[in-house]
């Protein structure tokens, strides 16, 4: 499988986990999209650092070739699926009693 198809699968898996498996439905929450909007510029910046300096390089046969801030477009999907999966599981565990209790 190419990086492109794996990246699309990663996003699909994270979306299914959030909406249907863990049922955290972060994709429908303002708090998630606000967090992602904060994280995204940092992802672009750190990715740019890693790719423009060739700290990490990609096989041109395994990516579409479209790039954003030096990094292949697939990296955006990779980052999105990582962030969604992590935050979904975090919130799921919070719901299961792992969140610190607050007093009103």
């Amino acid at each position: 499988m190419s990086y492109t198809s794996l990246a699309l699968s990663g996003v699909a898996l994270a979306v299914v986990a959030d909406l249907f498996i863990l049922r955290t439905r972060l994709l429908r929450r303002k708090a998630f999209w606000t967090s992602y909007a904060i994280i995204l510029p940092f992802q672009l910046l750190t990715n740019w650092w890693l790719t423009s300096r060739f700290i990490v390089s990609y096989n041109p046969n395994d990516i579409l070739g479209k790039r954003l801030a030096a990094a292949p477009l697939e990296d955006l999907l990779f980052g999105f699926s990582l962030i969604l999966a992590i935050l979904s599981l975090w919130v799921y565990l919070g719901r299961k009693g792992f969140a610190p209790r607050k007093t009103r």
Binding site: T24, S35, I63, I86, G94, R95, G97
Partner: protein
């Protein structure tokens, strides 16, 4: 200094997010158990992806710009740290949004009377 290229990115990520623990008191690092159960399963999947991608040469690392320490599956140490630091940074961001926008529902709110 060049071998610190990848590590610098990780340190930047720590600097950019961990201050939220002190200034906004997001309390993420205190929830060790929840952090471990969140990060371990997701990191395992992404490490498997990383191992596959490295073995198939989807991506590769400049040996001059990493520390040169490799873990299992020829994955550089920095990659393992990436899957620890980036998740913590993302969680801190979500918790920071929670502290600044208490009215926004995240889905795990628990209020004890």
């Amino acid at each position: 200094m060049k071998h610190l290229g990848y590590l610098a990115m990780l340190l930047f990520t720590i600097c950019g997010s961990f201050w939220l623990e002190i200034v906004l008191r997001v309390g993420v690092l205190r929830q060790v158990k929840r952090l471990v159960i969140t990060i371990v399963p997701v990191a395992l999947i992404f490490i498997a992806w990383d191992a596959y991608a490295i073995s198939r040469h989807h991506w590769f690392f400049d040996p001059k710009q990493i520390l040169g320490v490799h873990g299992p599956f020829h994955i550089p140490l920095e990659e393992y740290l990436f899957f620890l630091i980036v998740p913590i940074a993302a969680i801190m961001t979500l918790e920071a949004v929670r502290t600044r926008r208490p009215g926004w529902v995240i889905g795990d709110e628990q209020v004890q009377e």
